[in-house]
């Protein structure tokens, strides 16, 4: 029983982290049609900001959390301005290649100016403690991840449904040109989407730091790849789908970890993606996606 509960929390915590990052990708994709593969480097930039703060003597964990989130927003908005805005009207593949280019450039900058090797950064390790809840030992970090994902998800839903900017973002996801016909500045809506996405990257960076206690140039890469898969499972462009896809991926991974005998642990990833492929064969548009008529889509 304890084991099952422990694994359930594991799955929820993994799922929550994937869901957060997947939401960050989906917010931008739903409006711009851009898969921001430089998202992992935004997460890394947030973590490096904390590393630099510690290096100059600012070593308060709470300030580090704030700094990581602020850096996530700043890096995301900055990348939109210098890299993605100039190619906004270009074909989608141009945006995708730009994202890959930005990702490589940023990774190289981290390697060049800081170090290609992981740097220890134990500042936020304190977030990850074992708590005794009755007879159960649970990780405080996992509880925090779950709570944060729920709060962030709720706040996102509120923002998208209750604020004019949020409503504009939902409208822009369907028909950007007509949003501009309401007198709403296109640049502002896009910048808001990137800011939101960066905020989620900052939160993700805090969790990654708390878990691994170090920073590395490629620290965000695998996470963003997983989040991309989560988006595909959920239906690309759908925010609810991204959150659900993240959870589904978390449950698949932890489920396999539990079910597979230890000596077959190596094929966990293989089986994960087999299940993902099976899901997509059943629902090619993703769990929450809708089939899009691309024939009359505005360029």
């Amino acid at each position: 029983m304890e084991y099952a509960l422990q694994q359930l929390l594991n799955a929820l915590a993994f799922g929550a982290e994937y869901a957060l990052v997947a939401l960050g990708l989906a917010v931008v994709f739903s409006i711009m049609g851009l898969v921001n593969f430089a998202y992992g480097e935004i997460i890394a930039a947030s973590a490096y900001a904390v590393l630099l703060a510690v290096a100059v003597g600012l070593a308060a964990p709470l300030a580090a959390v704030g700094l990581a989130i602020a850096m996530g927003i700043l890096a995301s908005v900055l990348l939109e301005r210098v890299a993605f805005r100039p190619v906004r009207r270009a074909p989608l593949t141009t945006g995708l290649l730009t994202a890959f280019g930005v990702s490589i450039v940023l990774q190289n900058l981290f390697q060049l100016f800081i170090s290609p090797r992981p740097q220890a950064l134990p500042l936020l390790n304190g977030l990850n403690q074992t708590l005794m809840v009755g007879p159960y030992a649970v990780s405080s970090l996992q509880l925090m991840q779950l709570a944060t994902a729920i709060v962030a998800g709720g706040a996102l839903v509120w923002f998208l449904n209750r604020t004019t900017l949020g409503i504009a973002m939902r409208a822009a996801a369907g028909d950007f040109a007509t949003v501009r016909l309401q007198g709403i500045r296109a640049d502002r809506v896009v910048a808001a989407a990137f800011a939101l996405s960066g905020l989620l990257a900052g939160i993700a960076a805090v969790f990654v730091l708390a878990r691994r206690g170090s920073v590395a140039p490629d620290m965000g890469f695998m996470l963003v790849l997983k989040a991309f898969v989560a988006c595909v499972i959920g239906g690309f462009g759908s925010l609810a789908g991204a959150a659900l896809g993240g959870m589904v991926l978390g449950f698949i991974e932890v489920g396999l970890l539990v079910l597979l005998p230890a000596e077959y642990g190596g094929i966990k990833e293989t089986l994960t993606y087999c299940i993902v492929i099976a899901l997509l064969l059943l629902r090619p548009e993703g769990l929450m996606g809708t089939r899009r008529e691309l024939g009359d889509k505005e360029a």
Binding site: I167, A168, R170, A171, R180, L181, Q182, I184
Partner: protein, 232 residues
Amino acid sequence: MLKIEKLSVRYGTVHAVQDLDLAVAEGELVALLGPNGAGKSSTIEAIIGLVAAGGRVEMDGQDISRLPPELRIRRGLALSPEGRRVFAGLTVAENLRLAAATRRDRAGVRADTDRFMELFPVLRARMHQPAGTLSGGEQQMLAIARALMTRPRLLLLDEPSLGLAPRIVQRIFEVIAELKAGGMTILLVEQNAAHALRLADRAYVLGAGRLQYQGPARDLASDRLMSLYIGG
């Protein structure tokens, strides 16, 4: 109020509109007519800034040809686009709220919302329904209400009657007549030429991207119009 000089729109090597001069004075209802593919919608999209165009577009004597659409809206233009293009996933109320996004006069927005509900009573019952679930006629009414919500001084209507039942078309034209009576300046693109000419003060007829006729609407007798349409 609106003045267009030597407007040209090209898609690749195809000239959709060539050297078009057009003007709309305050309080006028001007009809822009022509057969399919004549360049009517391209003209409208060039005026509002959705397509790149050569030539000059002036609003109140100021050149707005280089402004993005959102700033042209702020200069007092508004478009009810062809195909209506309401935000299908948003409720009727949210559609209207977005159109009021640049306005700061909350009381005015509320008053306008009430006024549009009177103009289009069918929308009142559907305020909290996704716009995508509305009928074509209701969506057209929402598209017009949404355009009016930005407080335009010049309203561009692109094919407001397209694909609608005759009874609904009648209602749409009644509304346009009411707007004109209220002093709204309107540029109306319409396939249904007879309907449009009954309301319009002046008309322009396009054919293959070029101006074929301009003058008072009442002078455009139906036989003349027919020959313009079939290129005689």
